[in-house]
Amino acid sequence: MDTTHIQLAHGGGGQLTADLISQVILPAIGGPQHSHQLTDAATLEAPHGHLAFTTDSYVVQPLEFPGGDIGKLAVCGTINDLSVVGAHPLGMSLALVIQEGFEIELLRRLLTSAGAEAKAAGAHVVTGDTKVVDRSACDGLIINSSGVGLVHPAARLGFDRVNEGDAILLSGPLGEHGLAVMSKRKGLSFSADLVSDCASIGQLTAALLEEFGPAVHFMRDPTRGGLAATLAELSVGARRDLEIVESSIPANKTVRAAAEMLGLDVLAAANEGKLVAVLEAGAAAKAIAILSKFKIARRAAVIGAVGAASDDPLVELVTTAGGRRVVQMPYGEELPRIC
């Protein structure tokens, strides 16, 4: 019997499933030692305060890329979704949909990476699920991850909290994840010395809330659709114009060159470890000082400000060439262009 690759029977609920869980999955993610210790649902102690709850599914090709992999991505993504609403994770789930024939060693590696990231961020994987599907149903591995978190007592975040004059902060250069993944994709004769920014930003959001509490008005991690999508959503949600300054946006020169090579827009490129925060203007300088002490945010910068209320709000970019233009919501997958 092939013991190195996933078979359909690994998802059948029998002995193979139990073995996979107890011998591969649990040791890798650092959960209980035996599958019989698992119950149908995890129980969490109910703390006092507000709970945050989030879910997301992760698909990425290739599964491993410079700076991360789908396991780390799934954990960071869920932690980050909790973090930007001001919550610290209490527990999270990992549900795996695995393609028949998937290499078990690779699965072990991906889950070890997920476990290490969860541990580093102080989050616990408390429940999960495993399904195996045939080769036509899935390309390798899909991970769904949910998380429950406790909201910081001083957090008062939301579109309605965003005011005219508030500063818009960005924790670092854009597009490192999107272009790093693309540089490893098969079929593109393109490569780049790029590492994904894939990281948990919980320590950034916690530090800001700890210091400024309700003076932090809004937070978001710009993932798919990049900064452009995040700001477009913010302006529509807050019903306010936003103005950002191109020359103040931290840039990674390799990302910039890669984007030019592929004909892509850096503002719309994906990130997995960046924070956009909106706070009272008076707090901005100190916030930058606090953020830039963290390695993942050492190039944090104020990139713009919130403008007046508007029924039809716009995000405007002051360009390096001295003009102004509107930043639109990206319209889905941008096909790399040559023309």
Binding site: S183, A257, T320
Partner: protein, 89 residues
């Protein structure tokens, strides 16, 4: 029409080359610029080098290159600031 970027020839093999711009690399054909040499700056479009660029002129002509240069300084500044902060804390 058509997207083209300046990049430097890093490796050559017969009529193809690897060109690099600020750590991003792509493979191009040198069939249209048979006189190209290792280290030359070329203008790349859709997998082909269209012409050889004067490196001085390349720097003066492309905003992209100017911005990438600035960026290097920024990185240096930012990382120095960071190390100083770390030392303090």
């Amino acid at each position: 029409m058509c997207l083209a970027i300046p990049a430097q020839i890093e490796k050559m093999e017969d009529k193809t080359a690897t060109v690099v711009l600020a750590g991003s690399r792509t493979n191009v054909s040198l069939a249209l610029v048979p006189e190209a040499k290792l280290g030359d700056w070329v203008l790349v479009h859709a997998g082909y080098a269209l012409t050889i660029l004067d490196p001085q002129e390349a720097r003066e002509t492309y905003e992209l290159l100017a911005q990438i240069e600035v960026d290097e300084e920024e990185v240096k500044r930012a990382s120095t600031a960071w190390t100083q902060e770390e030392k303090k804390t």
